[in-house]
């Protein structure tokens, strides 16, 4: 899930960024054209615009906006998905939610997912991007290689990591035995203490390459002269990274952190594929909890309420991020 959300935000940034620069251009263009051709062209323009936008907008409205509004409506009912009538219950689902211990544990797991699943890939990605940037050979090879997990289907990633965690044959246990830590071996996905983190590690494998590539692209804009000057002044590699390079790529760093973080709120696919939220509810996150409520336990209304909670949380995070970045500028 994190990877699907990621690019959405990226694209939005793209639109944002370009619109800013282009407003002036566009204004000039319009003024010129209007002066030249008068009022009739405006009608033609409106018709063309309507024709161009309608098909795409219609599909988008029917299969995205409408179900979204439906979700909000469902959240005020305790519909079971089978009856014709949808019993309206007002805010009851929202009140129940706060008294639901499973919600709090799923919420906590989501927090763990977001914190670990964001900080680790960002740290790895930053380290690798910095290393690739500092006069490294085979840059293209490494960059290509690191990016591959990001394009591998989540279902494949989930299955293979399941094998790595395999209690009898998995390489993780074999390696632990090899270095004499037999006591740590276990069925990683079947143990309630490790299931969630094991899934997160698989997701990190799937996302660190994305962070690396985006940060590496950001580094192309850094002036090497300044960094070399700091080196002449005796700054160590760490100091150059910390005080010279990272401040220059701070906007990209914040962005890629936000993308990864926001994606974490809605994660479902990794959990469904690897643990189904188990063992018990040890790896249940908000997204998978909403999924199982709506599609496995027939609590459609309550499931919709959970999905609205996820939306609100991720929207708040997105807006907070945009504010934060505006202030940075």
């Amino acid at each position: 899930m994190s990877r699907t959300r990621s690019s959405s935000l990226t694209a939005q940034e793209a639109a944002d960024g370009s619109s800013r620069g282009a407003i002036g251009k566009r204004l000039n263009g319009t003024r010129g054209r209007k002066a030249a051709s008068g009022g009739t062209i405006r009608g033609a323009e409106l018709r063309t615009a309507a024709l161009f936008i309608a098909p795409g907008f219609l599909l988008y409205a029917v299969f995205m906006l409408f179900p979204f509004i439906q979700s909000i409506y469902y959240s005020f009912t305790d519909w079971n998905g089978a009856t014709v009538h949808m019993p309206f219950v007002g805010l009851a689902n929202y009140i129940d939610m706060f008294k639901d211990p499973l919600l709090w544990s799923a919420g906590w797991h989501t927090v763990v997912w977001i914190v670990v699943g964001t900080s680790v890939p960002v740290a790895i990605g930053l380290l690798l991007a910095l290393l690739l940037w500092s006069n490294t050979k085979f840059v293209v090879f490494f960059r290509t290689l690191y990016f591959i997990p990001f394009v591998i289907p989540v279902i494949v990633t989930g299955i293979v990591w399941g094998w790595i965690y395999h209690p009898l044959f998995g390489i993780l246990n074999s390696m632990l035995e090899f270095i004499g830590l037999d006591s740590l071996t276990r069925g990683w996905l079947g143990d309630p203490n490790t299931a969630l983190v094991a899934v997160i590690v698989a997701a990190i494998w799937g996302s660190f390459g994305f962070v690396t590539v985006v940060l590496f692209a950001g580094l192309q804009g850094v002036d090497r002269g300044i960094v070399e000057a700091a080196e002449v002044d005796g700054a160590s590699w760490l100091q150059r990274a910390r005080f010279v390079i990272i401040p220059m790529i701070a906007p990209v760093l914040t962005l890629v952190t936000a993308i990864t973080l926001i994606g974490g709120f809605a994660v479902v696919d990794y959990i469904i594929i690897m643990t189904q939220g188990g063992p018990g509810t040890a790896s249940e996150v908000l997204g998978s909890y909403a999924y199982s409520k709506a599609f496995e336990q027939n609590s459609v209304g309550y499931g919709a309420t959970l999905s609205i909670l996820i939306t609100v949380l991720s929207l708040v995070a997105a807006v907070a991020f945009l504010r934060f970045r505006e202030r940075d500028r």
């Binding site: 793209a14 409106l46 299969f63 179900p67 490294t136 494949v156 494998w205 590539v213």
Partner: protein, 297 residues
């Protein structure tokens, strides 16, 4: 900053010769890069190795790397495991999604970037919303909506929501990406065409669309990879076996009681290879797609 430089000058004076340090640093750098290269490669190699394992070896140790050579698994997965039919179902879903997303977003994006009409800002805002709504927020009502429309189980139950952007890359993303491209195109060419008497559609089709080809390539590649890999859409809306794509085919196969690792790995390979090949061919577009936005922001 001054403080930092200060501290470091003390450190350099006590450190051994600079060259030794630099060599050490370089070695460490390649050790780290190499370590992550191994971490990246191992799961990929594991799939290939397991897909080529003969059934006898699998019972001994399914995950020992390259202990046998048994390409028959891939043939078996394609035929007996139905991955051939899953493959073609995936193609039948992916191709229309890419074509529809590109065609519809290019049109809408052009209008939003280049034409003037009342309510433009609002329409754009509504499309923006599509980028912020996670799939979880629409997946429940969408199920009942598709059921009522009689689409559940047909490939359109995946195609239409995917095009709409329910599960990631769809029209909302396309509109944003392409709008950016159209805003950046120079106005002179379009004006010249208008002066020559071209209609608005001709201006778009003959002048602006060809100029935005690089953007179309980026969008196509992103939408292809997303749709090929999409898992939750077919899991929820394609319950039957008839139109099952690779993602859920593989999921059902791997969730089965008998764990035939060789066939599962072969199926995973059948699913991953097309994405990998297209990624390696269109790597520039891929990287551009995921980074342009990040850098412009």
């Amino acid at each position: 900053m001054a403080q930092a430089v200060d501290r470091s000058s003390v450190r350099t004076s006590t450190a051994p010769s600079g060259r030794a340090q630099r060599v050490g640093g370089t070695v460490l750098k390649y050790v780290i890069l190499g370590f992550f290269a191994l971490v990246t490669l191992y799961p990929l190699i594991l799939v290939i190795s397991t897909a080529l394992k003969d059934p006898l070896q699998i019972t001994v140790n399914p995950f020992q790397l390259f202990s046998s050579w048994h390409p028959q698994n891939i043939v078996d997965a394609w035929q007996i495991g139905q991955f051939g039919s899953f493959f073609f179902n995936t193609v039948k879903i992916t191709v229309p999604v890419v074509v529809l997303v590109v065609a519809l977003s290019v049109l809408a994006a052009y209008a939003l970037a280049r034409l003037n009409f009342p309510g433009k800002g609002f329409v754009f805002l509504l499309f923006t919303l599509g980028l912020m709504i996670p799939f979880t927020s629409v997946m429940i009502p969408l199920f009942y909506q598709l059921r009522d429309m009689g689409l559940l189980g047909s490939i359109w139950a995946v195609i239409l929501p995917a095009v709409a952007g329910s599960a990631g890359f769809g029209i909302p993303l396309g509109v944003f990406l392409m709008r950016g491209f159209y805003l950046d195109l120079p106005n002179e060419l379009a004006e010249a065409a208008r002066v020559d008497g071209a209609s608005e559609f001709q201006v778009f089709y003959r002048v602006m669309l060809p100029l935005s080809a690089p953007g179309v390539a980026v969008l196509s590649v992103l939408v292809f990879f997303q749709t090929w890999n999409t898992f939750l859409l077919p899991l929820l809306y394609l319950p039957g076996t008839e139109n099952r794509p690779l993602a859920t085919g593989l999921y059902q196969f791997a969730a089965g009681r008998t764990q035939d690792y060789g066939l599962i790995a072969a199926g995973a390979l059948i699913m991953a290879v097309p994405v990998l090949v297209i990624f390696l061919i269109a790597q520039r577009q891929f990287v551009k797609g995921v980074t342009t936005g990040a850098l412009k922001g």
